[in-house]
């Protein structure tokens, strides 16, 4: 099918885009990589009077380390993030997760801002933003604000962004020494959206106890969720004394994942437990290795 007619503007400055979004509000839509929006238009699941194509706004692209924060422009392509040295060094989890997104042709167009704004409950980037404690910076003609990933993701395909707001950048905090990360997902084929996926970020103290842990699952609810009870249960505990299998089972027992043609909710809950266990195991191993100076040198 073909998209319904719309007017098209391709501003080169953020302010021009904001003025258009302000003028048309609900009738306007931002066009980023188009890898989610164009199918919706083509299938006529959505229609808008005005598309605001932000692909020509140079200021929305780029990756920069500012103090202890990696600032990634909203229009930075997934393929760029996948290959970027700064991302690998300062947010390795983001680089690793990118390989799970679709296929290389999709990543050549898809953007980090689009992925997060789209808020697909099975998408990788919203979940990684939540895991790393990222914020997004957004703007409208009225000004700018920062929103924590946990506050941004409201429900399936829904964020707390206003229609006239543009996502400018994603601010990813750099996790310090002795931090380790893991991402894993179950999908039917390479490149498919996950049936269930998850990510973990942990920091260990000198005695190998858990100083900080974020554990996130996606595909099990209407948005990516943090397993707060699990995080609390392992906080301060020596890694070697944790019964990870039992903890993961407990943490996932109350989940009520959706059923669809791909998998039943019961299946999703069942695999969520070993997935969670594996995420923590991998993140702990990597955190220890990240703290070992001989390993650092060998890398």
């Amino acid at each position: 099918m073909k998209a319904a007619p719309f007017d098209y503007a391709a501003p080169t400055e953020v302010d021009e885009a904001l003025a258009l979004l302000d003028e048309f509000a609900e009738d306007a839509k931002v066009l980023a990589g188009g890898q989610s929006l164009v199918p919706l238009l083509a299938l006529r699941m959505s229609r808008f009077d005005q598309l605001v194509d932000v692909n020509r706004i140079e200021a929305l692209r780029g990756i920069e380390l500012v103090g202890e924060t990696l600032v990634i422009g909203a229009m930075t392509r997934q393929a760029t993030i996948e290959r970027d040295e700064e991302v690998r060094r300062h947010a390795p989890l983001l680089a690793e997760a990118t390989r799970y997104i679709g296929h290389f042709q999709i990543r050549n167009r898809g953007t980090i801002g689009g992925s997060i704004a789209h808020a697909d409950p099975t998408a990788e980037y919203p979940a990684i933003a939540l895991t790393l404690g990222a914020e997004v910076e957004v703007a409208s003609v009225r000004g700018r604000r920062r929103i924590d990933a946990g506050e941004l993701l409201e429900s399936a395909y829904t964020t707390t962004l206003e229609p006239e707001e543009l996502l400018l950048s994603v601010r990813v905090p750099v996790w310090g020494a002795r931090s380790g990360f893991a991402v894993h997902e179950i999908a039917r084929r390479t490149g498919d959206f996950a049936l269930v996926g998850g990510a973990a970020a942990v920091t260990l103290d000198e005695a190998d106890a858990v100083a900080r842990a974020h554990v996130v699952l996606f595909g099990v609810a209407d948005r990516a969720i943090r397993l707060s009870s699990l995080e609390a249960a392992i906080a301060g505990q020596p890694v070697d004394q944790l019964d990870l299998a039992e903890l993961a089972r407990e943490a996932t027992a109350e989940l009520r994942p959706p059923s669809d043609v791909q998998a039943t909710g019961a299946y999703r809950r069942r695999v969520a437990a070993p997935l969670t266990e594996r995420l923590l195991r991998t993140a702990f191993v990597r955190a220890r290795r990240a703290g070992d100076p001989t390993e650092e040198a060998a890398r």
């Binding site: 098209y8 290389f104 042709q105 050549n108």
Partner: protein, 162 residues
């Protein structure tokens, strides 16, 4: 919804046209430029039949509007090997190893394989399968396609060392 004037370089030739903003790049290539080597099947990003190179990178042309390509440089299937000249290693591989049956998916696979081999000159079978996971074929069962790409990598290496 007024039409917009665009100019796009395709296979080193300049094409100009007046298009409605909602016209996809794929439709512009096929209808306005009459380059029908680019195929369309699903028209919503799933199958990869419409894959082209946009400024050298493989993308789905059904997921872009033609207006977005104003000023860009594209390569379609027709632009890979000059007419009457030798085939590319990918095309040669597809011919030798039955990389196609009905041929509908083939333009997308060939373009994707070109981009993939440029970045992975010596791929394993698993890497090939992963690299081509964004293209669907309803006929071949993929074995012939995987062998075609292995063969293309081999020919390219021979060309380089020869």
């Amino acid at each position: 919804m007024s039409k917009q004037l665009i100019s796009v370089r395709i296979n080193d030739e300049l094409f100009e046209g007046e298009v409605e903003p909602r016209k996809t790049l794929a439709d512009f290539i096929r209808e306005d430029c009459t380059l029908t080597g680019t195929h369309l099947a699903c028209e919503h990003g799933v199958c990869g039949a419409c894959t082209i190179l946009l400024d050298g990178e493989a993308v789905r042309s059904c997921l872009m509007f033609a207006v977005q390509a104003d000023g860009a440089s594209l390569t379609t299937l027709e632009g890979l090997a000059p007419e009457g000249g030798p085939m590319t290693p990918v095309q040669q591989g597809f011919m030798e190893h039955h990389g196609l049956q009905c041929g509908f998916c083939t333009p997308g696979f060939v373009i994707s394989a070109h981009a993939f081999l440029r970045d992975h000159p010596d791929p394993t079978e698993e890497e090939i399968r992963e690299g081509l996971s964004g293209n669907l074929c309803r006929c071949t069962g993929y074995q012939g396609i995987v062998r075609a790409v292995q063969r293309a990598a081999e020919i390219t290496r021979e060309d380089v060392t020869a």
